[in-house]
Amino acid sequence: MTVDGVMNANAVQWDLIQATTDLMYMFERRVIDKKEEKLEHRRRSRNIGHS
């Protein structure tokens, strides 16, 4: 993901629909990972605050 919030990915496959499915899966995973990263960061900051 760039600083402007743009996500970029590519997929290579013999089958166009399969390539699209793979590509979208990559985006879904990235969005979920990003969200988990944020949650983790928030959790850690909270823990630091408590210690």
Partner: protein
């Protein structure tokens, strides 16, 4: 960059109200050209070229709306005779009235790929709104006017080299659906720009005439180099230039794209599309732009399936983030495998 990222979610609502307080009748052209339903297509295209219009409203009396002729539609329809009547190719444009919010009108311009759009009230054409009108209003909103272009520019720019062939540059522009390519040297310093409109005529030579006793008739791409066809010393702006200044340069020079460079080193590009998109991004939306390029004519079936896959996936993604745009380019490798890339 989204409206939220630029001004923050709280200010977005305030700024939206400010932008939407500018009404379409305050910015649109109230004097405009029209064509009649029984005009010849050839004459209409000549008129559009002369007036530098991509769309023109159709009306019998210059007032009542009877459709719209769009370059895009004409290009997509094959085998059209130049003697065809306008009424056979006119399309019904999306309804935009003088009361439509300017953010929504900006979005319609982008979604439909139009450069200008008739503003219609009760079947009567009240005016024409162009992308240029949206640009000119940016200077009335200091919060938008003073945004540096680097916040909205496209940082990854496809470029051409001076020794590339024009025909290859045209192919790249056509495939990516873009209108200019910055030309750079080996150090990635900008040397000029090559525009689709300027080089379209270089793309093909006239057919050779048949000579006595010899049949030669093939047309083929002319072997012109980009450095011979490029515009040298184009308008270039620095990353810190404001949106207002960029809009002013585009309007003054009647250009649609501005390369962004620091000491001639290319950093990005900003287009009229980006500036109109900035205004459209303030619209309350529950939709996303989707653009798929690079597919061939016979791929219609695949395109429908791809749209379904993308929509399903985007619905999942939209529960977490708010996607604004999805752009996908399909490239074929070795005529069999396919590759997808998105931005």
């Amino acid at each position: 960059m989204t409206a939220e990222e630029l001004v923050g979610i709280n200010k977005k609502e305030v700024l939206r109200a400010k932008i939407e307080s500018i009404r379409l009748p305050d910015v649109m052209d109230k004097e405009f050209a029209t064509v009649r339903p029984d005009d010849r297509l050839g004459d209409v295209l000549a008129k559009m070229t002369e007036l530098d219009l991509h769309e023109i409203p159709v009306s019998q009396d210059g007032k009542r709306m009877a459709g719209l002729v769009s370059y895009g539609t004409v290009i997509r329809r094959k085998n059209l005779s130049i003697d065809a009547k306008v009424s056979t190719i006119a399309i019904t444009p999306p309804a935009v009235s003088p009361d439509t919010a300017i953010t929504e009108a900006a979005e319609v311009l982008l979604r439909e790929g139009y450069r200008q759009l008739p503003i219609v009230d009760n079947g009567r054409i009240e005016g024409v709104l162009s992308r240029g009108h949206i640009l000119s209003m940016l200077n009335n909103i200091p919060e938008l006017r003073d945004v540096p272009v680097e916040s909205i520019m496209s940082p990854e720019v496809r470029t051409a080299k001076g020794k590339d062939r024009v025909v290859d540059a045209v192919t790249v522009m056509r495939d990516l659906d873009i209108r200019i390519l910055p030309v750079v040297d080996d150090m990635e310093r900008i040397m000029g720009i090559v525009g689709f409109k300027d080089v379209a005529s270089y793309n093909w030579r006239e057919k050779k005439r048949q000579t006595v006793g010899e049949v030669v008739g093939d047309s083929y791409p002319a072997d012109v180099l980009v450095e011979s066809a490029m515009i040298e010393d184009p308008a270039i702006i620095a990353p810190g230039t404001t949106v207002g200044k960029a809009a002013e340069i585009m309007l003054k020079r009647n250009i649609s794209s501005l390369p962004i460079a620091e000491e001639r080193e290319l950093r990005g590009i900003v287009t009229r599309y980006d500036l109109v998109e900035l205004v459209a991004s303030f619209r309350r939306r529950d939709m996303m732009y989707m653009q798929i390029t690079g597919l061939e004519k016979g791929d219609r079936f695949e395109m429908d399936q791809m749209e379904r896959v993308i929509t399903q996936s985007m619905q999942k993604i939209a529960r977490i983030i708010d996607p604004l745009m999805f752009s996908l380019h399909v490239g074929k490798y070795h005529n069999e495998g396919v590759g997808l890339s998105t931005l």
